[in-house]
Amino acid sequence: MNLVKQKFVGRSVRRLEDRPLLTGAGRFAADVSFPHQLHMRLVRSAYAHARIVAVRTADAAALPGVHAVWTAADVAHIPPIDFRLTKVAGLEAYRQHVLAADRLRYVGEPVAAVFAEDPYVAEDAAELVSVEVEELARVLDARQEPQEFADGLRTEATVVRKGYGDVDAAFRNAHAVVELDLAIGRHSGVPMETRGAIAHHDRARDVLELHGAAKVPHWNRDQIARMLGRSPSSVHLYEGHVGGGFGVRGELYPEDVLVCAAALAFARPIKWIEDRREHLIATNHSRQQTHRIRAAIDADGRILAIDDAYFTDQGAYLRTHAATVTDLTAALLPGPYRVPAYRAVGRVRLTNKTPCGTYRSPGRFEGSFARERLLDAIAARIGIDPIEARRRNLIAQAEMPYTRTLDTLGTEVTLDSGDYAGLLDKTLAHIGWPALQQHLAQRRAAGEMVGAGLAMFVEKTGLGPRDLARVTVDGDGAVEVVTGAASVGQGVETAIAQICADALGVDYAGIRVVHGQTDRIAFGMGAFASRVTVMTGEATRIAAAQVRAKAIAAAAELLQAPADSLDVVDGRVVRGDAAEGPSVTLGEVARALALADGGTGLCAEGWFQCDHMNYPYGVHVAIVAVDRDTGGVAVERFGVAYDVGKAVNPMLVEGQIVGGVLQGLGGALYEEFRYDERGEPLSVTFADYLLPTAREAPPVEVIICEDAPSPLNPLGLKGAGEGGAAAVGAAVAAAIDAAIGIPGAVTQLPVTPRRLREILRQQSHATANEGSHPRS
């Protein structure tokens, strides 16, 4: 026997997830059904702001096939949905109840729930519920003076303040001050699978099951248990396949709680599947902010201070993220630059729109747009190249780790490692920047509107503080990793299997990775903040290493060989110093251990603790062509350089980045939740809310770098999920500026054809005026 020890971490091996998904064998939320289930349909507010006078349900209840209709009175005992992150004290009154009782605060807010034998009948019945209201004045702009939210409460829920240093002195002593007014549009994750929740009360065991879970099943289990007065151990959440998450899916929503409450009340399984219109008005929106950002600079364009005052248009309630996005914006806005003095004041303002949460790269997409626009403005003011302006302000590698004296998500922002200037050099070399600029200049000279823009960013990933994994080898030698992670389709099973395979000494392809099952593991933090590969990956590595040590110790006895001469290779314990010789399979070791006195089998748990996040960083380059007549923007080429410390599976990392870029392009150019003056949402179908298609997708060139492994974990990992989106808005804005030859022209995302035509129209007016009234 001659076994070759294979390594899997760092290789682009094929995904373990793919076969069922390619053959129609996946199990998404809508694929889960129970015998005798009832179907839930929600009656949603048609008003942006109104006082409820009456909710009339008799006609709906009388429809054959309708089992019950609930209004707020039926769920009055259920508390509002709590905050999961950024629990700022005093915000409790802004939480959302599962059904509205007195006031309706956005179009789409659940008012009543119909339960029927058939989903078509449930939908028919929902249309028979009438809601009588008195309409109230609406707040649709976060910048307007705060109004009353409820008795004694204003629509400005809280103000996030972060900063350090003497900002005012820096501005007093500055060579120049650059100031910008910027706006980021309202858009969101919009996964292809809408939400779904199927609750089943197994009365035989008195266990309440919720299927269709995602992202944070353990936290949601605890909350559902608390809200319904049960012990957490009597509530199990099950994650099946998840059709995309992006931050919005898997947070606890009213519908999740309603199906559970109804399953208990009616002793029938309850199924709810969101339709797309509901999704676009009921699932978390994100992003919408306006910034007035100022920089104090010296004569060379070095930043002396940044002062940012911004508004977050939070929508109608504070959901599970409370003030998270506003907080992250403030904490991470300085990005890769040295900012000697800093002040951020973020106002969380409630409006009569769909409530907001996080969306891939929350706070960084927004903050990077503001900061990188500012860097471009600094360059223009001083008269230097935008890249040179960045170089003068980048934090140097020698300054790492770099403490910001800012905190967020309960941890201090300490940039753990990075060579920002080095990555900038690599990017420019890969893109062929000077030749590209020359080529673009030639095309512009020939009449085309083309340009390139560049933006830099720092991401944050690997949020702790801890994670748990359990690795078990069964008597057949099969390896199972049970994690408290969640999968939203990003390839968790493959990445975790690769890490386990190397630490244990088996082939990754045979490893079963379990996630999102609260009855399989007591602890789990789920999948958010690009944390899974880092936190769950390290916990898995620790558990697998322990299993390996256990297997070697047991095999040493079985093989009568010293433990330090043994290795585990491809599922067998072998003499490491001999190509041939006696060996024993992990399955045989597991069987022997199962029979041993007091044995726990071939199994181990691993905890990984990490108090700090780590900080991958990147550069985005966009090359765009503007159509002068239509105002349309075609992205011809997009480049991303991203340092992730260590890529477990480069193919998956690249997939994450390319997917993130396209979502970023959506937010930069196409996607926007628009409202009319009555607060009526205008983006309620895919014909109004424009997701990028293959036609809009540019070729994306990805440079994955591993120059700055994280010192915070042994594998050096940083998360890869969000860097594709982070600075797309900023890079595209810079590229459009360059294409149309107006520095600082883009101040608002998305840059729709209408907005760009307006910019071009103003430019031609200005030029015409200059022509008729020459100035000295």
């Binding site: 997830e17 396949h241 389709g489 997939g655 293959a694 994306v700």
Partner: protein, 159 residues
């Protein structure tokens, strides 16, 4: 909305006698009445293409077709692409080129491309992008879907 109608839906060569209301969509009948849940519902207004199936060889949005309209026609879904354990050329290409992440849109893309390549095996690059632009994916950025389809086309041509 009563008055159920008895029809036979022929899915992947197998007959499914079902009783449906006239208003029942084809996708609901395929999923709920015939138990073939590989076909997904993404928008129910005919834009995203997650529910794409082949009806008499042509890609169809099964959310925009009533079940009764498909009676007696040959319906093909993602469950019919592989031969036993052996994936189709296109399915394998999606795996090899990482053309899927969450996998929710994948059955729709597979059926769309399968239908188009059967009729136009040498479809031009620009037309191919137009075809692919009729379905939505939120994870991949399309790059690897395009790669997978091109690779499958090449392999199919060589056969």
């Amino acid at each position: 909305m009563s008055g159920e109608i008895e029809i036979v839906l022929t899915i992947n060569g197998r007959d499914h006698p079902v009783r449906v209301e006239p208003r029942r969509t084809l996708v609901d009948a395929i999923r709920e009445d015939c138990g073939q849940t590989g076909t997904h519902i993404g928008c129910e207004h005919g834009v995203c293409g997650a529910c794409t199936v082949l009806v008499d060889g042509a890609p169809v949005r099964s959310c925009l077709m009533f079940a009764v309209q498909a009676a007696g026609k040959a319906i093909r879904t993602v469950e019919g692409l592989a031969s036993g354990e052996e994936l189709s050329v296109l399915q394998r290409a999606f795996m090899e080129h990482h053309g899927l992440q969450c996998g929710f849109c994948t059955p729709g893309f597979l059926m769309l491309v399968t239908g188009v390549l059967e009729r136009e095996p040498d479809i031009g690059d620009d037309d191919l992008i137009d075809v692919l632009a009729s379905n939505l994916c939120r994870c991949t950025g399309y790059q690897n879907i395009v790669k997978a389809v091109r690779a499958a086309m090449q392999e199919l041509r060589a056969k």
